[in-house]
């Protein structure tokens, strides 16, 4: 049988097809590196502007009217406490919701409506969550302009992220494993608790941390519920030296947070405060990157342990 095209023709055609392939690699790499480059430039710029403010004092001092004496102590403590509340609330609620949707919910239109709305929630502007929280948590439930209100608000904000992330993780557990457990006579809850959840812990924690790294930078909702921008005291410590060793006063405390502090400094005309803002922004960015690194590490660890 005669060939469709002769050898020379075939080669020429292949040459162009392979060039097209290479072109895509170059294009993709260019776009990727531009994005990363921008981020790197931003980060380096912040570090350069704020360079001489980095130091122990910056972390251990309260804000001050004098730029060179101002620190971010109340801001990073506030942010940490808010993140703690956010994680403690969003994780169990989000995971429970995901388990219900993935393992229990019947496949009908009600479930579909819920699923679509969970996805939509992720796209709601954060200021809207702030307004909701102001009306509901601050006034209706009378929680005040407190760490608790802020934590609950951000928990609400990242709930869709955790639900979607957890569902992905649950879905990654092979059907064969569920069948094995059901085949031994396990109930739905036993299959979930003994198998599906433990095997998807890595993915769930990754989702949590990605959610938290979104929440840590949120400014609008916590301004809305009334974070203070100048705080020269710390909330009470959650852990005390005396029985019962736990103290919940900090939940009701007024607070400030990293983004608020940065916003406050940026809005001042004094150049020295701009440098403070740059330093604080670099630290906030660093915190976010660190959290993402932890997420990657967790995922890596669990992948190594369980490899279907």
């Amino acid at each position: 049988m005669a060939a469709v095209m002769d050898f020379e023709e075939l080669r020429r055609g292949l040459y162009w097809r392979k060039n097209l392939d290479k072109l895509f690699v170059v294009l993709g790499l260019f776009i990727l590196l531009s994005c990363l480059g921008l981020l790197a430039i931003l980060f380096l710029d912040l570090v350069r502007d704020g360079a001489h403010r980095f130091g122990w004092d910056f972390f251990t001092q309260f804000p001050s009217r004098k730029a060179e004496r101002a620190g971010i102590l109340s801001a990073w403590v506030g942010t940490s406490m808010i993140m703690l509340v956010t994680a403690l609330v969003a994780l169990p609620v989000g995971v429970a919701a995901a388990i219900y949707l993935e393992e229990y919910a019947p496949k009908n239109w009600v479930t579909s409506v819920i699923e679509i709305n969970v996805t939509n929630l992720a796209g709601v502007p954060s200021i809207v969550y702030g307004l909701l929280a102001l009306g509901l948590f601050v006034y209706q439930f009378d929680l005040g302009q407190s760490v608790l209100s802020a934590g609950l608000t951000l928990a609400l904000l990242i709930l869709p992220i955790i639900i979607v992330g957890t569902r992905e993780a649950l879905r990654a557990v092979p059907k064969a494993i569920r069948e094995a457990a059901y085949g031994l006579g396990a109930t739905r809850w036993e299959v979930t608790k003994d198998h599906v959840l433990p095997y998807s812990t890595g993915g769930i924690l990754t989702g949590l941390i990605l959610g938290l790294s979104r929440a840590i930078g949120e400014t609008a909702p916590i301004i809305t519920i009334g974070a203070l921008s100048f705080i020269a005291f710390l909330p009470g410590s959650p852990i005390t030296g005396e029985f019962p060793f736990l103290n919940f006063d900090w939940l009701k405390s007024e607070f400030t947070a990293m983004p608020i502090q940065i916003f406050n400094w940026v809005s001042r005309p004094d150049q020295a405060f701009q440098q403070n803002a740059a330093a604080a922004a670099a630290i906030l960015l660093g915190m976010t990157l660190l959290m993402n690194a932890v997420a990657i590490y967790i995922r890596f660890r669990f992948r190594k342990k369980i490899n279907w």
Binding site: K107, R178, E179, A180, Y182, L184, G185, A186, E190, I306
Partner: protein, 279 residues
């Protein structure tokens, strides 16, 4: 339990078949499917299946892809109940208590606690070897470490894998080879002493040596447990089973002693399948 199958009035179809053809004697019935129909939604996958599963013998289900043999097997431990929109009609009676395994009033979890299953692809839990075998026992409330240990050892010995894993009980089951994993899964099913053990093409993901070990194991196991096995491999059916049932398009075409089905089938369709004319 030495009554001949022919004496049982509740298994007319097979009894007649056996009698007519002077088959090898079947033990008393452990389970009897009668007028079993099954639907996925509106799609009827099983049509009027009548089959007797003799106690402590191996019954093989053969037939081309999509003929319903796996579907039939999964009726025995109600695996279909995990999917929405499935429906059974007719009965699978488990003897001697006369429990209808597919009855609406019978809890599928109770059924699965009595009928064990080994799947197509080895599916050990990503836990230790010990915990894999102990899991079924833990579900049944066994917590005593000594007793668990004894039962786990017994199950592992029963599945002919004890010597290979006795020093690795606390290692991950995922570190075992494919054949070892499958024998571990058999041990896991054996640990709870099931009344019937279902095998769904247990060697289709294994190499020939691992396959030979599993087949040898099945031949040993039948002295203690009733076995129902689905296989694509006709030589396998011929090697391990006492009785063979041929299914086609959701119906049971023919059933009889394995030696007869393979040497002297009575139906044309069976003969065509066995001689490789389709499948």
């Amino acid at each position: 339990m030495n009554t001949n199958v022919v004496d049982r009035a509740d298994a007319p179809t097979l009894s007649i078949a056996m009698e007519e053809r002077g088959a090898a004697r079947a033990n008393a019935a452990k389970a009897v499917a009668e007028k079993l129909d099954f639907w996925y939604g509106s799609n009827q996958a099983l049509k009027n299946i009548n089959l007797l599963i003799p106690e402590n013998q191996v019954t093989a289900l053969i037939g081309p892809s999509g003929c319903g043999k796996s579907t039939f097997l999964r009726c025995f431990n109600r695996m279909h109940d995990l999917q929405p929109d499935t429906r059974y009609a007719g009965s699978i009676m488990l003897h001697p208590e006369n429990v209808n395994l597919v009855g609406k009033d019978v809890d599928p979890i109770e059924v699965r606690m009595r009928i064990g299953m080994v799947f197509q692809k080895p599916n050990p839990f990503p836990k230790t070897v010990f915990e894999n075998v102990a899991y079924g026992l833990r579900l049944r409330g066994f917590n005593n470490r000594t007793e668990l240990g004894e039962r786990v050892e017994k199950a592992l010995r029963g599945a002919a894998i004890w010597d290979e894993v006795k020093d690795r009980l606390n290692d991950s089951a995922l570190a075992l080879s494919g054949g070892q994993m499958q024998r571990l899964c058999i041990a896991r099913a054996l640990a709870t002493e099931p009344e019937i053990l279902l095998f769904d093409e247990p060697t289709s993901a294994l190499d020939p040596i691992a396959t030979a070990k599993i087949e040898e194991l099945i031949t040993e196991l039948r002295q203690r447990v009733t076995i129902l096995i689905v296989t694509h491999n006709m030589q396998q059916a011929a090697r391990v089973s006492d009785f063979t049932a041929f299914m086609y398009l959701g119906e049971l075409v023919e059933v009889g002693a394995t030696s007869q089905i393979f040497t002297n089938p009575s139906k044309k369709a069976t003969e065509d399948y066995i001689t490789g004319r389709y499948g």
